[in-house]
């Protein structure tokens, strides 16, 4: 696998991970809404808050990583200088 292929496959990987993150975010939110109606125990809800913010962190990491991959992809592409200058 050369570097270009590696970057490509990492991009695909990061993209694929977005789907489960998306579904976890949505489902955690549903859980929060439902639990808020049923229990008054703030501590229980706190665990949910933690899980939610951790998924958010995960999502941010993936987004930043994707940005980085795109940038490095662009930076390292071969460029025909003469064409660029024309």
């Amino acid at each position: 696998m050369d570097e270009k292929e590696l970057v490509k496959s990492l991009e695909v990987f990061a993209h694929k991970i977005k789907n489960p993150i998306h579904s976890v975010v949505i489902n955690l939110d549903v859980l929060k809404v439902k639990l808020q109606k049923q229990i008054k125990d703030q501590q229980t809800l706190k665990y949910l808050e933690i899980a939610t913010s951790e998924v958010k962190r995960l999502s941010d990491i993936v987004a930043k990583y994707l940005d980085y991959l795109k940038k490095s992809d662009k930076e390292k592409a071969k460029v025909d200088l003469r064409k660029l200058l024309e």
Binding site: K18, H22, S23, I26, D29
Partner: protein, 453 residues
């Protein structure tokens, strides 16, 4: 039809997402349906009205953009929000261009979703009421094949509505070309007889003997040349509607026979012994003034009272000038299609002339003039010069003058001065005052135009 206002359709190929989104939206009080792919979503859209579709961009069979295009192509009013994994601007632009209400990137913020949905649904509601209004306007401007939104035509529509489902015979009066047959057809279509035949006979189109033959038919051998039996229009119209146009042009004897057929609900074919029973709704029309026709004994009074249970009088086109633009547009569309042309409209001058012309041939004449103009016109706007000579040379009311484009200022001035003089009965002092010039100037100008006082 159930209200689409709070119905949402989800299209996503991943079950965990479908479950989560459904629960989230149901918590918000919406009625939610979930489809597993684009194909399923489209089928669901056919079955039911939805206010909003939340579609994943990437799906097997039909992706989000393809459903969006289908929705727009089929004029479905459901709003679409595309959910995409890629945060790329290109995809977003593509979705918005295709008519998406908005797009969201994964992972979707639940609160963002909650706030955007009511807005999308509100937009959907606007589209629905807009469409309803359009429908209502269309209903106001046309009635079956009749076109017109003027109060006079609204009265006609009301009368047709009121009379259609009764058994009453109807007599329609109006100048030729006002659409009497269209009214007769509308009555038939709106009646419970609509699936039975509508038979129209123009009584002025046949000599008397042949007209009776047309109306009542004949038996084999009734007269020389009657080789076969022939049913008449009364029989053909059984259970349906018989429309007799131009009844004022019929002989009194034929009128008597028709009266008998209407009263007895039975008649004999020419040369026939057997009485044939018929159930026919009669609608008659004439372009004559009915009172005059009765006075002149052109129309039998007894037949008149039989037929004229309800009278519908169609206004001449010049009495409903406001409908002229509507009719012009309708005919333009029609003849554009027929002649594979794409004429966009009329020049101001041309429209002006058509609005002022008295249209003695009424809607039919206007229709013919537009057809001719569409065929002759070489530009995408119909200009006055393609109008028939009789219209261009028509002497319009004294109170207005028509100056075609291309006229010189001098020529225009000359016309204005002469016509003003005409209007003021050649009183130069009055004419000068109307024109806003001094009497001396008027004399000078007249002198220059070669008219001496």
């Amino acid at each position: 039809m159930p209200n689409s206002e709070d119905k949402i359709l989800i299209a996503d190929d991943e079950e965990p997402i479908r479950i989560g989104l459904t629960a989230l939206l149901e918590e918000e009080g919406y009625e939610v349906t979930a489809a597993r792919d684009g194909q399923e979503a489209l089928e669901q859209l056919k079955k039911d009205d939805y206010g909003l579709l939340l579609a994943d961009l990437k799906m097997p069979k039909l992706d989000g953009l393809q459903i969006l295009e289908e929705i727009k192509r089929k004029n479905i009013l459901t709003e679409v929000i595309i959910i995409t994994g890629k945060g790329s601007i290109a995809t977003a632009v593509e979705a918005m261009k295709a008519g998406a209400y908005d797009y969201l990137t994964k992972p979707v913020e639940p609160d963002r979703l909650r706030s955007i949905i009511p807005k999308a649904l509100e937009h959907h509601q606007l589209l629905v009421s807009h469409k309803e209004l359009e429908q209502q306007i269309k209903q106001l401007t046309r009635y079956e094949d009749l076109i017109g939104q003027s109060p006079q035509m609204q009265e006609v529509y009301k009368l047709i509505d009121a009379v259609a489902d009764s058994t009453a015979n109807v007599i329609i009066t109006g100048e030729s070309g006002t659409g009497k047959e269209l009214v007769a057809k509308a009555i038939h279509k709106k009646s419970s007889r609509c699936n039975e035949p509508f038979i129209a006979v123009n009584c002025s189109a046949f000599p008397e003997q042949i007209l009776e033959n047309e109306l009542f038919g004949h038996e084999k051998g009734a007269f020389t040349g009657a080789l076969n039996e022939k049913p008449g229009c009364f029989e053909l119209a059984h259970r349906g509607t018989l429309f007799l146009d131009e009844i004022g042009e019929m002989s009194l004897e034929t009128q008597a026979k028709i009266l008998r057929a209407i009263e007895e609900r039975r008649f004999r074919r020419l040369g026939g012994k057997k009485e044939i029973e018929v159930d026919v709704r009669m609608v008659a029309a004439t372009n004559r003034n009915l009172k005059q026709a009765l006075e002149d004994k052109l129309l039998r009074e007894d037949l008149y009272y039989r037929l004229a249970v309800v009278e519908i009088d169609l206004p001449p086109l010049r009495d409903r000038v406001d409908d002229i633009p509507l009719l012009i547009n309708e005919f333009l569309n029609y003849f554009n299609k027929k002649n594979h042309k794409n004429i966009k409209g009329l020049t101001v001058q041309c429209r002006d002339i058509l609005m002022k012309y008295p249209w003695h041939g009424n809607v039919r004449e206007l229709k013919n003039v537009i057809e001719r103009a569409v065929i002759l016109s070489t530009s995408d706007k119909i200009d006055a010069h393609v109008l028939p000579e009789r219209i261009l040379t028509y002497k319009f009311e004294k109170s207005s003058i028509m100056i075609p484009l291309g006229t010189t200022v001098e020529e225009a001035e000359k016309q204005l001065i002469f016509r003003t003089l005409e209007m003021e009965n050649n009183n130069k002092t009055k004419a000068a005052k109307t024109l806003g010039i001094s009497l001396k100037t008027l004399h000078n100008k007249l002198g220059r135009y070669g008219q001496t006082s």
